[in-house]
């Protein structure tokens, strides 16, 4: 499938480059609807591979790449289930998103995240599955999960650890702070800095350079240099499920979701 338009995203193939655009109001939250369409996207890789050198993941929203996992949906689903079954429901969702992100991580073509605006939690985990992150000067990155009592669950810790090292993971994780694009570039999270609103243009320019190279060599080099941290990813799912279903987390999430102030509740 060379092009697709769904409810939460769309993709289009053009001259060896496939562009996946997240387009889900209000903030490109990654919930079951987006995961189902991401599953369609990765299922199309087999057909795309022979004619594709690069995939760009971008957002239709001017100020948001993705605010992350759909916490409202996760919370409502968890609280609707009997307490003993909450973990199983969350685990099923995590298994699906991990499968999708592992496919993107190991895609046999180069993947570029073109980030503008907020890139938080699950949104950052999606960007981290890509090979290269291009971000504009207004981009901000964060793993705010610990502020609500759980950890990133879409593979963020193992991938950030793989790409940048443990000290950066600890700073972002233990403070939950948002990090600007300049800092993200300085620590190596962002490969290329773009002017305001120019991330997609720079990503396309990068893609057109990459398409000049031999695709087989590129895929081999990627496989060689970018191992999937399988064991840590499995452990992350277990830990997330263990932490997420605690009553304290449910209470913090409830407070966060019900807060209608200009700055939502975040300890």
């Amino acid at each position: 499938m060379k092009s697709f338009t769904g409810k939460t995203l769309r993709w289009e193939w053009r001259e060896r480059v496939v562009e996946l655009t997240l387009d889900h109001e209000p903030a490109n939250e990654i919930g079951t609807a987006m995961v189902a369409e991401l599953e369609k996207f990765v299922a199309s890789f087999g057909a795309l591979v022979p004619e594709t050198s690069v995939c760009i993941i971008t957002s239709a929203r001017k100020s948001i790449f993705s605010a992350g996992g759909d916490l409202r949906e996760l919370y409502h689903r968890a609280t609707a289930a009997p307490e003993k079954e909450r973990g199983a429901g969350v685990r099923e969702f995590l298994e699906r998103i991990h499968t999708v992100l592992n496919c993107i991580d190991a895609a046999p073509f180069v993947t570029i995240a073109a980030v503008q605006g907020l890139c938080f939690g699950g949104g950052l985990e999606l960007a981290l599955a890509c090979d290269i992150i291009v971000a504009d000067k207004m981009a901000r990155f964060a793993f705010p999960e610990l502020r609500l009592g759980f950890i990133p669950g879409f593979g963020g810790i193992p991938r950030l650890n793989r790409d940048l090292g443990n000290a950066v993971v600890r700073d972002m994780l233990f403070t939950g702070r948002t990090v600007n694009a300049t800092r993200a570039h300085a620590v190596g999270l962002v490969a290329q800095l773009a002017g305001e609103g120019q991330a997609l243009r720079i990503a396309r320019s990068t893609a057109s350079q990459i398409t000049k190279f031999d695709a087989v060599t590129q895929a081999a080099a990627k496989k060689f240099i970018k191992p999937i941290p399988d064991e840590e990813l499995r452990r992350e799912i277990d830990l997330f499920c263990e932490l997420f279903t605690r009553p304290d987390v449910m209470a913090a999430l409830k407070k966060f979701l019900e807060d209608s102030g200009p700055m939502p509740y975040l300890p």
Binding site: A27, S63, I64, G117, L118, K137, M138, A139, R140, T175, G176, R177, T178, V179, N180, A181, T182, R183, P262, M263, P264, L266
Partner: protein, 80 residues
């Protein structure tokens, strides 16, 4: 090194420019949430502009609970 007054003035000018307001329409004591009617997303955008302008990092937890330009300028000053 900027004085706190200079920093405050630059914060006011930057906010006015970002939200397309007349340069002198904002005062140090103004509550920016009320005066500008901004939400969390716009607040973070403003934070990015301030960090880029002053060449600093200002963790969002340091400005949590801050709602006036004067206190915001003090937080920035402590990072310069």
């Amino acid at each position: 090194m900027r004085t706190l007054e200079q920093t405050t003035q630059e914060v006011l000018e930057l906010a006015a420019r970002h939200f397309n307001l007349p340069a002198r329409s904002l005062a140090p004591e103004d509550d920016f949430f009320k005066k500008l009617g901004i939400d969390s997303l716009q607040t973070l955008e403003m934070l990015s502009r301030l960090e880029n302008h002053f060449g600093i990092e200002l963790p969002d937890y340091e400005v949590q609970g801050v709602s006036d330009f004067k206190t915001l300028a003090e937080r920035i000053q402590s990072r310069l």
